[in-house]
Amino acid sequence: MFLPVTLQLLEGFWESLKIFGLTLAFALPLGLLISFGSMSRFAPLKWLLRGIIWVIRGTPLMLQLMVIFYGPGLLFGLPAMPRFTATIVAFSINYACYFSEIYRGGIESISKGQYEAGQVLGMTKPQIFFKVVLLQVVKRIMAPMSNEIITLVKDTSLARVISVYEIIWAGESFIKKGMLWPLFYTGAFYLVFSGILTVLFAKAEKKLSYFRS
């Protein structure tokens, strides 16, 4: 029984990984845009984004999934998005908001002197950001980002509230056949994957330890 169960769970886990990978691909850059906006000197944009961040971080992701999947239909009579698309949209917005706050904390923690040193040396704003500030920010946000990304691995299981197939669902489907252990077995997949991520993040942190700031 072990091999077919493992294969079935792997199939479910592949769906989980797709949610994970696509969410990261969208949320990492989107978060940077949101963080720039939330630090903007243009007050309406800044407060709009901070309001959105407050709502997204203040409500459960599970609820956001349902709102994005059912909301457009209920409110405006629009056809619903495919379930998987809705999942990626909800996850990307949710994680982008969390990431943006981490980015903002990192960017704001860089001393004004670093920008001014760049300025008096005649650098442009993009040069200062990319050549002076960015790597220092990356170093500082490494730990909170790795936490958040490992949380995302486990959060992918929430997608099933709008009936998106993933590994927990795959595990649960064995209960009908009188098998409980595959459900518990799913935990091993999460553990292995988050273990791999932990090692990768530790490596990245080590790589950035050549300087101090």
Binding site: E116, A117, Q119, V120, L121, G122, K139, R212
Partner: protein, 248 residues
């Protein structure tokens, strides 16, 4: 030849008038020392010269060229800045780069030469400030005095016409100030035009051609070191110098 003319610079921060009508000029190769108690506007003056602050009114003229024009674009501000260099009180080195890369980064980004030329220049500058053994060290591996010398080399790499120092030794342990002051003294010998804000009175006295005593956003007294230190005209200057003597 007059390198710099500063005319009637005024700067407010909200209600506080930080610079009230500051004017002076500087000849090629001269060293100007600015002394004065904390809060008198010395840093703000240097920041205006380096376009980190925008004066409310006044003129900054370098070799006859007016730099403070209405509606300056960012591009122009960046060009204006390059007439000046600024060495900060707390160094502000880039922590992720070696000493050499700190020196070569800006000229590389500004395309001031080929990578080989700039590397050669960077090594030469670090040697000039006595750091030939520390080219590949990261800032955290250097003492404060060494970091400040890297910062000086970094500023020199863009060959500014006027190099400004904002209390370059006041973040240093006393035993490390000498090495930095020596570098500044050598720069004078090399003919660099400099403005040094400092609390080191002996240094100001021996290295400066002109000394300004600032108080409360105005130039209270200006003259040669002999005039300002040995024969001050203003009662405020006398009181400040007495205070400094008692303080040390």
């Amino acid at each position: 030849m007059t390198v710099l003319e500063v005319k009637n610079i005024k700067k407010d921060f909200g209600k506080t008038k930080v610079l009230k009508d500051v004017s002076f000029s500087l000849e090629e190769g001269q060293v100007l020392a600015i002394i004065g108690s904390s809060g008198s506007g010395k840093t703000t003056l240097l920041r205006c010269l380096n376009f980190l602050e925008k004066p409310d009114s006044g003129e900054i003229i370098v070799r006859g060229k007016h730099l403070l024009t209405e509606g300056c674009t960012e591009e122009q501000i960046r060009e204006n800045r390059l007439h000046f260099g600024l060495v900060f009180q707390n160094f502000n080195l880039f922590p992720q780069y070696t000493a050499l890369k700190n020196v070569t980064l800006a000229p590389t980004l500004l395309k001031k030469g080929t990578p080989q030329q700039l590397e050669t220049q960077g090594k030469q500058l670090l040697t000039q400030v006595g750091l030939q053994d520390k080219m590949d060290s990261y800032p955290y591996q250097l003492s404060g005095g060494q970091q400040q010398r890297v910062a000086i080399a970094r500023a020199l790499a863009l060959q500014p016409e006027i190099l400004c120092f904002d209390e370059p030794t006041s973040a240093l342990d006393p035993e490390l100030t000498g090495e930095v002051l020596r570098v500044i003294r050598n720069l004078k010998t090399g003919g660099n035009t400099m403005i040094v804000v400092t609390h080191e009175m002996e240094f100001a006295k021996s290295v400066a051609d002109v000394v300004i005593y600032m108080t409360d956003g105005v130039i209270e007294e200006i003259g040669t070191p002999e005039q300002v230190f040995d024969n001050p005209q203003s009662e405020k200057t006398r009181a400040f110098l007495r205070g400094v003597q008692e303080g040390f």
